[in-house]
């Protein structure tokens, strides 16, 4: 059962790599290569379904569709992780933008309406 030794490290790697996924140029290039390979592998497995079954037999999975399911699960885990990291990065940018806007607005408000109402002296 080679699959056991493939799946466990693969799931750990998927979680780790996805959380580390930064929008570096190298990472983007890897993703594009992966996308092309996925298309090719998909086409081959549709045209020659027996290849998927051969692969499954070789790693010790009963059916080719099961092997596909495992791969799909790994892809989803990776996607969830890397999407959450993306969201987090986006959020961080939004925070900086909103803070800048708030500080600028406060400064204008107190300079125009007079700082007399506020209890702090503007430096």
């Amino acid at each position: 059962m080679i699959i056991k030794y493939l799946l466990v490290p693969a799931i750990v790697a998927a979680v780790y790599l996805s959380l580390r996924a930064r929008s570096s140029l190298r990472g983007q290039a890897r993703r594009k290569i992966l996308a092309v390979l996925t298309v090719i592998a998909g086409a081959i497995s549709v045209i020659f379904p027996s290849i998927l079954q051969m692969l499954a037999d070789w790693v010790g999975v009963v059916r080719g569709t099961d092997l596909l399911l495992y791969i799909l699960a790994l892809v989803i885990i990776y996607l969830v992780g890397s999407t959450s990291v993306r969201f987090r990065e986006q959020e961080a940018r939004l925070v900086v933008l909103a803070r800048e806007q708030a500080l600028a607005e406060a400064e204008v408000r107190y300079r125009t309406q007079g700082a007399s109402t506020a209890s702090i002296p503007l430096a």
Binding site: Y16, L19, R20, S84, V85, R88, E91, A92, L94, V95, A98, R99, Q101, A102, L103, E105, A106, E107, R109, Y110, T117, A118, S119, I120, P121, L122, A123
Partner: protein, 251 residues
């Protein structure tokens, strides 16, 4: 300067300090998120004692902004809600940009902190400390809390304390007083509540002189209803772990 003299003479202070004592070297940051019923009173008390107050309105949907203006604080209003950490970082940057205060304090808007504790902490930091942290477990342990909350906070304090730096007896206490130089180095990347452990980590660098001061937290029905549920500690832990995984450990 004339105004200052005038204010000093008419000052009515309900804190146990002589009117001659000036707090001009301190600015207090109050984070406000939908606290309209209480925030006016809290800020008025601080302003009345002669403290400068920067209130960060974290996109409140009630009348908090009006209450802040009426109470006489410098208001910075977020266009969107940024969470506790985001608001605190805004307050820090506003304090650095708009004031020349030597000490910057954090005070909760829900009235659970005591003005007298803050004033004691200001007196303490003037003795030459970089950071004064409030602790609910020091001194005669006056703060009443459930056993579960006490246990989790103690545990959090222990977990966060691993590594070098100052050992703290309390975790996530909102009452802090920090010197200007230290505030200038604070970078909070967590927007949500997990900011507290991140902040504590950045405030207790080994080169800082850090001291804890016993404070009394009033868990009123209001603050209890507004406060974070204990289950939120799961969020905080998860955020902290993923942050470390993504960005690696800070030096």
């Amino acid at each position: 300067m004339d105004d200052f003299e005038l204010g000093r003479r008419h000052e009515t202070v309900d804190a146990p300090n002589p009117p001659a004592e000036s707090w001009a070297d301190t600015v207090v940051i109050v984070r406000v998120y939908n606290e309209a019923p209480v925030v006016g009173g809290v800020i008025s008390q601080l302003v009345g004692a002669g403290l400068s107050v920067i209130a960060v309105d974290d996109a409140s949907t009630d009348t908090s902004a009006d209450e802040i203006d009426k109470a006489g604080a410098f208001r910075v209003s977020h266009p969107i809600n940024l969470g506790a950490g985001g608001a605190l970082q805004t307050g820090f940057e506003a304090a650095l940009r708009f004031t020349d205060a030597q000490y910057i304090g954090c005070f909760d808007a829900d009235g659970q902190h005591q003005l007298s504790d803050l004033l004691d902490m200001i007196r303490l930091i003037r003795e030459g400390y970089d950071v004064v942290m409030g602790s609910r477990f020091l001194g005669d342990a006056r703060t009443e809390m459930s056993l579960l909350r006490r246990t989790i906070l103690k545990l959090a304090a222990t977990v966060m304390n691993r590594g070098e730096g100052t050992k703290l007896t309390d975790a996530h206490n909102g009452l802090r007083l920090v010197s200007r130089q230290v505030v200038a180095r604070v970078r909070l990347s967590h927007a949500g509540m997990a900011y507290a452990s991140e902040l504590e980590y950045q405030l207790t660098r080994p080169e800082y002189k850090v001291v804890e001061h016993p404070v009394h937290i009033l868990y009123t029905d209001y603050s209890r209803a507004k406060g974070q549920p204990l289950l939120n500690s799961v969020n905080i832990l998860a955020d902290t772990v993923t942050q470390r995984l993504t960005h690696g450990r800070r030096p």
